[in-house]
Amino acid sequence: MSHPQIAPNLPYHPSGDQRFAQLDQTMAYYKHEPTALIQILHAAQHSFGYLAPDVLRYIATAMKLPLAHVYGVTTFYNFFSIVPRGKYQIMVCTGTTCHVRGAATVVERLGQQLGVKEHETTKDGLFSLHTARCIGACALAPAITVGDDVYGKLTPDKVPKFCQKDLKKYA
């Protein structure tokens, strides 16, 4: 995920956190229409990294939506996270081609190397481990993405070296 940019010239937000000012602007752009909730959650996750209870409460109050409804929508979609996520999202493709080429073992070994299970975040807060269905790089199977970068032909036995070399670039 690319790093969120906070637009300059936003009105000062009383919380002292300009990301809320940005969120205000997004909600205003959608005229606080309840049907735009997903777009707004999207924008909020983009700037906050994840959707903490305070952020959800802020959105619910501003949009006059019930808290439980906002929670229900947020947790319906895998894309949204209500727990802190790492700076970079590692997506291991488990689509058919990658699966055949050993994606399951890739997930397992990556997890071992990073000391996390799926959906968890490394202690240093750098990476979160996820799986995805076909990322459209079948020719490079098994494929993974780290943030916006794609890595191909990452067979299970290449995982340790990948962690020691390639992932270090993100530190």
Binding site: T61, A68, V70, Y71, G72, T75, N78
Partner: protein, 600 residues
Amino acid sequence: MNKITLTIDGKQCTGTAGQTILEIAHANGIAIPTLCYMKNLSPWGGCRMCIVEIGGSPKAVPSCATPATDGSTVVTQNDRLTHLRKLTLELLFSERNHICPICPMNKGDCDLQQNGYKFGIDAIRYPYLYPTLPVDLTGKFLGLDHNRCILCTRCVRTCDEVEGVHTLDIGNRGVKNQIVVDLNTTFGTSTTCTNCGACVSACPTGALFDKNAAFHGPLTKCRQVRTTCTECAVGCGLVVYTKENRIVDVFGDNDSPVNHGHLCSRGRYETWAVKRNRITTPLVRKNGQLVPVSWDEALQTIRKETGKMLTQNKGLLVSGKLTNEVAGTLAHLQSQVGHIGMYVAEHEAALCSEPVFTGDAFQRITDADAIIVLGAEPSRLQGVVAARIRTAVRKRGAKLVILNARTSDLDSYADIVAHVVSVERAFWKRVGETLQGAQRPVLLYGPNAMTPLGITAMEKLIKLFENGNGPAVVGIPTTTNALALAGAGIAAVDNVAQWLTSGPLRAVHIVAADETDGGAKILRDREVVGLLKGFNYVVVQAAYESRLTELAQVVLPSLVWSEKSGTVTNFEGRELLLRPVMPPRGQARDDKMILESVFA
């Protein structure tokens, strides 16, 4: 409305276009099993118990969510449908941990179990999932055991569509689906749940349950009595379930023309599920201590002390919760007691001075497209009215203007909220614009509208409607039966200290009835405590012990709501019946009877 005719199980059935197959079947006496369907809620179509076949097509459709079409042929019962329904039930049983013998709804109160029996389910063909799920017992009155939830969303829809707060929803996805409270918190820490208990009434299983009713045996085995809630001026219909003269549970009466089954936490729980110390015998102060005595002794003591007093030295200060029948007795006592007053809330005396009842007020609020709340606090005082306001705003887009000193949850739904009524022109212009074009406006006002500022605001509001449909002006008192008692000639007193000093009073008899605080609210004014201490004689007639009884020379035990008979008049002017649910506790007696024997 277009009439349609269809054939259901070979029977000619008529209904109106837009009705679902299930509604028409039910209306024509054809039973279709259901689980997630609930009358008066939007259809969900999730459980598939109500499946039917249409026009010979083998595709089974949920009848609760399928509009009926003219001329169609519907089959609700056949071997295949029974087979599918059995599979549905088995899936439901296998998904969570339905250990019936330890469930509060065991033996008759659970729709899932009843359907299981009905369909003869004795073994489950699917593997049990045995999920690990939490139980939330943090709620003040209710519990939620996720192990027994079938995700029918009846609670979610009730909370959203009836109480209007939408505390509940479904969180997560797929097998991880779970009912969530707010942002996945507990009932105990919910910021939106009003404890109305409607979700519990709606739940078909033992997932949501009333903590005080759990494990007291099935409600189906209880005696049921219909009576009226006397906690506020709405007068909701209640169905009280009792066993061995003990209240097991209280639900709203679906047949009540007032609340149609819905209640607030006061009527649903506060009157019985909260522990209070009942006064069970007459008490007389001897050497500074209140000691239990017989009724005869208590009455004699009162007579000895006050019998020789002049009429003008005696005062009778009564609660506005008394029945119309007690009001009749009080009217007769005017010749023997110099001062009779009814203590009411602040500014409420003015509201009672010309009691106005708005016939179909409740329905008007329900149908309103603009609601103005002026000096009233429905959220705190008349929960069922607040629920109607919320749903009018949230479901039908009604405008809401709140002019009230205190904040409440209703503020968050309002178009305009003002805690101090402004006299600014711009403000009133904004109010005018908000209310413009309203076809069915309602102006709901409470005691706090009776201040000079409130009255100015009321005049301005009514003026705003000069050129359109005028609002239904609905006064709602804080005190249950204050309007009717005032109408019967009993003066409303909102300044008790002033009333106590206005005449040459020496003895005062206070009738607190079954006020849950024992009538102690009049002591909030410190001056009243001092004045009462200075009186020669204070008699307190009440159901519950309180700081007020501590100031009395004689205490007389009276009945609580569930023991009373008689009538009260609600804010619409409806006379509503109280039926005794159980016999009087201890030596408690009816207020009317006590007054007659004291002042005989």
